[in-house]
């Protein structure tokens, strides 16, 4: 290895000596005739020689040509080649004309950029100005849904600043983590992380995950590329298994300084009003009925017991009126620069009042992207973004102090306030002491975040076609939390009030070093080679302290005031990765393409027996329309066939110290002494999961107006870092998770499917109509499990030959019309009257849709533009995990409210219904886990509707502005579904919880360029 270093340096230093030859230096810039934008990657050669170069990302080039050279040839895929005579001038700026439509697209790829036509792998992209600039989203990952085939981005939480689950081509890992890798401006970043304490004793472990991506201003984004197959993503090695999302931020452009102002305001409300709970009259009727049925009381006694003089609609109490749930944002950016220095600067402010009382989100961001060219050889720059956000959240989904839970569970016949104006906290049933209004007024649950990303890069061009780029990336994510539960009621009442403060910091740095070389031989052979080295270290450290015994005061904030210290806890966890990688790409005459990549990763998470992993890919493509025999097929503008195969890895699902046998010190004290408890067995063979990805596709452009691609893929992933259930007699019981598990590499899973993405310019001219449509059909199949034994995980089963997300449940049959008791089916399908045993569970559907996708129609006429995005998913099920409380059999009715399905309860012989007779104390286990609470969840949703108007140029110019756009839009305006629960967009695993519901958001906006 040391020798390798020496060799590298010799080459590096040696090449710089070649500059000595006698030449003339030519520079210039290449732009597109279509939009005047610079074109990167244009090949420039001296005619009749092998001397050449390509343009930079800004379309600039420089070339040392022999003094006797006469002609320069500029060529670029999709552009008509151009020849320019060399005269005595030193600068040649060239404008290239496009060949056919839609081919000038340049995509950001792993460690570089590429013309779309030359790409062998499977990459989808979104342009920021189309999809992100004007969408009122608090986090950029939420914009992915419905726009890209094969990408699912669900937002089970409508909590402002809440997290999003992103899945590319289904679930590729049976382990914990299926989130893709996020890469911003070339460097992997934190992405969606579960930044939380991992101790068994820390009661904050189960809180809602935070989302660093919510701290990035969506308006700063130039483009997003989604790398799906091995060819596109294998340069990210052990982190590429779940796909890679490349985010490129806006950069400065040469020219006079341009400003952009973007501002919008709007409001939010619930998406679905189908779901409701019982009102006072309904509740009292049903509660009395349950008492009569359960205890044999007379109707009069029961009525007297349950009836009150009060009535409250807790939904109205907990959910704000739309006009109180406002969103505002304002963003100002400037871009400009000189030949030498270019900049992009932006600042933004975003604020959202949550739909639920007590929740809100405020974010401030700033960014500087700076590029400087020291001379023709050396340039450097910096990308720096800092954001700060403040968030007030709900307590977690099933916490008693959660207002969302209160809206469902709170009895509708008790008041919010007592007659004397104090909070009612005593006759709330199960939620006694958890009056959500009182909690909102008194308690605090706040998170403040600071997210800093700083990247400095320098590039040196040893030769016109040989350059070295080094980047150092630093990320700091800081989370500050304060939780106050007052001592008068709420969680803190038994201890005289409690304050819990947490600080959590993620610090990460990455050093990335890439040497790249391009060349064109004999005009037809184009070769591009890169080699690189990367190192990354990540550390997460947290401290939490709590104390009890506080003044009974609303919104108290001082932990120092606590009479009794309670918890003091810290945790630090870290990992490091070291990587070497190389990529080669060759094409012949822009017709036949091959590419190959290899990466070697060493990871601190892997066991000593498997410290390094090798990942690779190979791919080829053929632009059929470049062949002579296709030249008479005029309708076919472009046709390309591509295929790729490779192996990538996944190290994300494993704990930082998973291969080690350990005793933990976290929280095992007794009688004032510290304890250490066994938590895991040593597993030195623990290694990365592998994902073998095959991809083939046809890209086409027809009639100069329809372009798209059809892809087919098979991804076989295996050796997951998986928590396997073990016998509790091994001692591996976790009290916080209530399970007995141990990590192990095992299993195999296949995802295969079709993706179809098409863009059609249906009508052109003054009135235009463009349709973007995508649909993805993914099928998952479990191929291998240890000993081929079923793995049962709550309501799910992993079984060989079955879908990964298969529900495994006892089958609900019906309510017996004769007596209102529940009936189930046993394994053989016989009707049984008592709750079946565990052997009677069967597979009853999957949480994965058969297909899903989105369609966007965009119409424009004069200055108006109307676009509508509809997303849809079909074929999946959702299990409502709290229905056993909300749609019970009367067991809970005196302490909690019920949802309105209870109105259909069985009342007298002959009633045909699915809701059993309500009996206080329960009706024969009718409320236990079964398909009674499993529902089909097909939906179609108007995800986004937007109407925009561009004020005519002559008007804007007359007031000294370049462009003014006003727009109105709505998110989640309409949802078609038969799903009876709250919202069909739940988390990927298809389990409904008391989540913060997704919201309908309507905003008005204004964009001004000047």
């Amino acid at each position: 290895m040391k020798k390798g270093l020496l060799l590298f340096l010799v080459i590096l230093l040696g090449t710089s000596q070649i500059l000595m030859a006698q030449t003339k230096r030519i520079t210039g810039n290449v732009t597109s005739a279509e939009d005047g934008q610079p074109i990167p990657g244009v090949s420039i050669t001296v005619k009749g020689t092998t001397i050449g170069t390509i343009t930079t990302i800004d379309g600039d080039y420089q070339l040392n040509v022999p003094t006797d050279a006469t002609t320069l040839v500029f060529s670029f895929v999709g552009m008509q080649p151009k020849e320019t005579q060399i005269t005595s001038l030193d600068v040649y700026n060239v404008v290239l004309e496009p060949d056919v439509i839609g081919v000038d697209e340049v995509l950001v790829v792993a460690y570089g950029t590429q013309k779309k036509e030359s790409i062998v792998g499977s990459i989808s992209s979104m342009r920021g100005d189309e999809k992100l600039d004007q969408v009122p989203i608090s986090s950029l990952d939420k914009a992915l849904q419905g726009n890209v085939a094969g990408v699912v981005a669900t937002s089970p939480s409508g909590q402002p600043g809440g997290r999003t689950q992103v899945r590319i081509r289904g679930i590729s890992s049976m382990g914990e983590n299926n989130e893709p890798l996020y890469v911003i401006d070339g460097v992997p970043v934190l992405g969606t992380q579960y930044v939380s304490f991992t101790s068994e004793s820390s009661s904050m472990a189960s809180r809602e995950a935070t989302n660093p991506l919510a701290n990035i201003n969506p308006n700063d984004i130039e483009s997003i590329s989604i790398l799906k197959d091995a060819s596109a993503s294998s340069l990210y090695g052990s982190r590429a298994s779940n796909g890679v999302i490349l985010i490129t931020t806006k950069r400065g452009k040469r020219g006079e300084t341009k400003f952009k102002l973007n501002t919008q305001s709007g409001f939010s409300q619930k998406t679905n009003n189908k779901y409701d709970v019982l009102n006072k009259q309904e509740y009292e009727e049903l509660a009395a009925e349950a008492i009569v049925n359960g205890l044999g009381w007379t109707q009069e006694d029961a009525d007297e017991y349950v009836q009150t003089n009060d009535s409250t609609d807790w939904g109205d109490v907990v959910y704000r009126d739309p006009l109180d749930a406002m969103t505002h944002s304002i963003e100002l950016s400037a871009t400009g620069g000189t030949e030498k220095t270019k900049f992009f600067v932006s600042g933004s402010y975003f604020t959202q009042e949550g739909h639920t009382i007590g929740t809100d989100f405020e974010r401030y961001t700033s960014r500087v992207n700076l590029d400087h060219k020291a001379n023709n050889k050396f340039n450097f720059g910096i990308n720096m973004s800092v954001s700060y956000s403040e968030k007030n959240s709900n307590n977690g989904s099933s916490a008693f102090a959660s207002p969302i839970l209160a809206a469902d569970l709170m009895l509708p016949n008790v008041p919010v306030f007592n007659e004397d104006g104090t909070y009612n906290n005593t006759n709330l049933g199960m939620l006694n002491n958890f009056n959500p209004v009182a909690i909102k007024d008194w308690d605090i649950n706040s998170q403040n975040e600071v997210y800093f990303i700083g990247q400095a890069f320098a590039q040196y061009n040893f030769l016109d076609n040989l350059s070295f780029k080094t980047t150092i990336n630093t990320e700091i994510y800081n989370l500050k939390e304060l939780k106050y539960s007052n001592g008068a009621f709420s969680d803190g009442r038994t201890v005289g009030g409690r304050i819990r403060e947490g600080r959590n910091t993620v610090e990460s740095w990455t050093s990335s070093n890439v040497l790249s070389w391009d060349n064109t031989f004999n005009e037809k052979h184009n070769l591009n080679v890169l080699g690189g080295f990367e190192a990354n270290k990540w550390q997460n450290s947290g401290i939490i302290a709590s104390g009890t015994g506080l003044p009974e005061t609303p919104k108290f904030r001082s932990l120092a005031a606590a009479a009794e210290p309670e918890t003091a806890f810290t945790n630090t966890t870290e990992y490091s990765i070291v990587s070497f990688f190389s990529h080669l790409e060759y094409n012949y005459n822009n017709k036949y393409y091959v590419s190959g990549s290899v990466r070697r990763d060493g990871h601190s998470r892997f066991g000593i027996d498997n410290k390094y992993g090798n990942f690779w890919s190979a791919g080829a493509s053929w632009r059929i329309t470049q062949e002579k025999f296709m030249s008479n097929m005029d309708f076919l503008d472009d046709l390309k066939l591509r295929v790729s195969y490779g192996v990538v890895g996944d190290a994300s699902g494993i704990g930082d110290y998973a291969p080690l046998g350990l005793f933990s010190y976290n929280g095992f004290t007794y009688n004032g002494n510290a304890g250490a408890s066994f938590i895991q067995y040593a597993n030195p063979a623990l290694t990365w999961a592998k994902n073998k990805k095959f991809n083939t596709a046809i890209d086409f452009t027809l009639f100069s107006r329809v372009s798209g691609s059809i892809e087919y893929y098979i991804e076989t992933s295996s050796d997951f870092l998986f928590d396997v259930p073990v016998s509790a007699t091994t001692g591996l019981y976790s009290p916080s998770n209530e399970d007995f598990i141990s990590p192990k590499n095992l299993g195999s899973l296949r995802n295969s499917g079709f993706e179809f993405q098409v863009r059609s310019e249906n009508i052109r001219g003054k009135f235009t109509w463009v349709t973007d449509f995508n649909i993805a059909l993914n099928k998952s199949e479990v191929l291998e499990l240890p000993d081929d034994k079923d793995l049962i995980d709550g309501t799910k089963i992993r079984r060989v030959g079955e879908d990964y997300q298969s529900f495994y449940l006892r089958r609900w049959h019906r309510v017996n019309p004769d007596d209102g008791t529940p009936q189930w089916l046993d394994a053989e399908g016989n009707v049984v009257d008592s709750y079946p045993g565990s052997d009677d569970r069967v597979i009853v559907g999957s949480a994965s849709p058969d297909f899903q996708g989105g369609i966007t129609n965009t119409f424009s006429y004069k200055g108006f533009e109307l676009s509508a995005l509809v997303t849809f998913a079909v074929g999946h099920y959702i299990y409502d995990s709290w229905a056993f409380v909300m749609e019970s059999d009367g067991g809970y009715i005196l302490s909690v409210n019920q949802n309105d399905k209870a109105l259909d309860r069985w009342q007298e012989p002959g009633d045909i219904t699915d809701v059993p007779q309500l009996i206080l104390g329960g009706n024969n286990n009718a409320d236990r886990t079964s398909t009674r609470y499993l529902h089909k969840a097909d939906y179609a949703r108007l995800k986004n509707l937007r109407l925009a108007y561009n004020i005519p140029d002559n008007v804007t110019k007359s007031i000294g502005l370049d462009n003014i756009k006003v727009y109105a839009q709505g998110q989640n305006l309409l949802t078609l579904t038969d799903y009876p629960g709250k919202d069909p967009e739940v988390q990927v695993n298809g389990i409904e919880d008391w989540f913060y519901p997704p919201l309908r958001t309507i905003t008005l906006g204004l964009t001004v360029d000047f």
Binding site: M1, K2, L5, F8, L12, L13, S16, S199, A374, M430, Y460, T494, V495, S511, T548, P565, N571, T572, T573, Y575, S576, I577, G602, S604, K611, Y657, G661, L662, F663, S664, Y665, F668, T669, Y670, N671, G672, A674, G675, A676, Y681, A682, P725, S727, A728, T729, T730, G731, L732, Y733, P735, D739, F740, K744, P786, G837, S838, G891, S895, G921, N925
Partner: protein
């Protein structure tokens, strides 16, 4: 220009040399934990491992709450309030299923403790620091605790030791009146491979044999370290209890005598009795788990279930109240505080909204749920000896009448002149109610559970019965095919 090249190359060189020796760069050890070899590599560290054992004993799914509560809630001293927080409902009305979280968590935490103890037991003889006496004590402590936990597991998940052969249809295995039927796995070593470790059920007799063997080995190794830790007397007291369950009457009476005669403990004076429940480590206490404001379980504490400041889910049954004489100090009663909580006057029961609540868990420093867990009190030794002597017709240490009157005298109850088996059991209820005994006292004596109409759920569970034990949890059976489910839960 050349200068830049040089500087840049130097920078590169620096970057590369920093990371070139990457093997060190990708080795990481945790901050919060220590490798097993170190954790079990010295007496000092094994002592730290033992501290974690006590921490686990106080887990809410074991002695911190549910194990104790389940013995009483399944019996006839407790009456679950109609309006309850739905904790323990399935135990109260005997509707548990194999998916029960309570069964899974109890199973999990108890075997976790056993495994932790096995780490200590298998390594204590290999370490060299500490004195021989210290190492012996730690080993004895671990053996005795392993016995206690196995005894608790077998009580919860298997039918009682004396299940007669006629009861073969309620149990796996072959009952013979002597523990011949299905028990629970006995774990005495740490496995090398958790993925292939699937023990099967030993018989109840085999479990008891291991329990007694561990206890026998432990007692000579141990001294005393106060009632908050396992010691020789506590181990002897547990052995008395085990032998009582096994109906080894002489053995039970002898062990009880040994504890009574140790001179370490005495029965509380009547004037101290009520106040003692709000205190730590009284003179009666042989073994109690210490909980303080940091470690107590808060809203999941045992006392929180009984206390009207907490869930107030559990009322005292009329059947139990009827057993007391008015002047018995254990029957003192007052109205609860109007805004919830026990009264300030010293009483053992209080009444709120017409329901009677126990005041055995008053909470220290006015904090509901902040009580130590009382596992062994001296009065139980008198009761064990009385019962054992009565059944055997012997009078080892004292006569049954003397022992029962020893307790009654200290509780201001009238003294008996003659005594029956029923008197002894009723005294057990009066004395040990809500301390985790009742259902086992019913089953080990082959009695029926009979709750009358005053209970929210009138219930009769005749002996023998599949309902008297917990299911082996689904989560275990799903993995471990060597285990057979308890009858009635398949």
């Amino acid at each position: 220009m050349k200068n830049i090249v040089k500087k840049f190359s130097l920078l590169l060189l620096a970057t590369f040399t920093i990371f070139w020796s990457c093997d060190d760069f990708i080795e990481k050890e945790p901050y919060f934990a220590t490798p097993i070899d170190n954790a079990v590599g010295s007496y000092e560290n094994l002592q730290i491992a033992m501290t974690a054992v006590y921490n686990h004993l106080t887990d809410l799914n074991y002695l911190g709450k549910r194990f104790i509560l389940s013995a009483d809630i399944r019996g006839d001293d407790s009456n679950l309030n109609v309006e309850n927080s739905n904790r323990m409902t399935s135990q109260y009305d005997y509707s548990m299923t194999s998916g029960s979280r309570d069964a899974r968590n109890a199973w999990g935490i108890m075997y976790r403790v056993v495994n932790q103890l096995n780490f200590i037991i298998t390594n204590i003889d290999l370490v060299e620091d500490g004195t021989q006496e210290e190492r012996d004590h730690l080993k004895g402590e671990a053996l005795a605790l392993r016995a206690m936990v196995h005894f608790d597991i077998v009580r919860l998940f298997a039918q009682t030791y004396s299940l007669p052969s006629s009861a073969s249809d309620v149990v796996v295995g072959t009952p013979d009146g002597n523990g011949g039927h299905g028990g629970v796995p006995v774990i005495t070593s740490v496995t090398d491979d958790p993925f292939t470790f699937f023990p099967s059920r030993s018989t109840v007799k085999e479990v008891y044999d291991q329990v007694l063997s561990d206890l026998n080995a432990s007692i000579p190794l141990m001294g005393e370290n106060g009632p908050n830790y396992m010691g020789a007397n506590a181990a002897t007291a547990i052995r008395a209890r085990v032998k009582l369950y096994k109906q080894d009457w002489a053995g039970a009476a002898e062990d009880a005598t040994a504890v009574i005669n140790s001179g370490n403990y005495s029965l509380l004076e009547p004037g101290d009795y009520i106040g003692s429940w709000a205190k730590e480590n009284t003179v009666e206490s042989i073994f109690e788990l210490a909980l303080n404001k940091v470690t107590y379980l808060g809203t999941t504490a045992l006392g929180y279930m009984y206390d009207t400041r907490g869930y107030g889910d559990i009322n005292v049954s009329n059947a139990l109240l009827a057993l007391y004489e008015a002047e018995d100090i254990r029957a003192t009663k007052a109205e609860g505080e109007p805004d919830n909580g026990p009264p300030t006057t010293p009483v053992m029961f209080y009444e709120t909204n017409g329901f009677t609540y126990t005041n055995k868990f008053p909470g220290r420093d006015g904090t509901a749920g902040l009580d130590n867990v009382r596992l062994l009190r001296l009065s139980e030794m008198y009761l064990i000896r009385a019962e054992a002597n009565f059944e055997a017709g012997s009078s080892i240490g004292a006569t049954p009448l003397e022992d029962i009157n020893s307790i009654r005298g200290k509780r201001n109850a009238s003294l008996f002149t003659t005594i029956t088996a029923t008197d002894i059991q009723e005294e057990r209820r009066r004395e040990l109610c809500f301390e985790g005994h009742r259902i086992y006292d019913i089953t080990r004596r082959g009695e029926d559970l009979v709750r009358g109409d005053d209970y929210w759920a009138a219930k009769t569970v005749t002996f023998p019965n599949t309902d008297f034990i917990y299911p082996i949890p689904d989560a275990e059976l799903d993995v471990n095919e060597n285990l057979e489910q308890n009858i009635g839960y398949e």
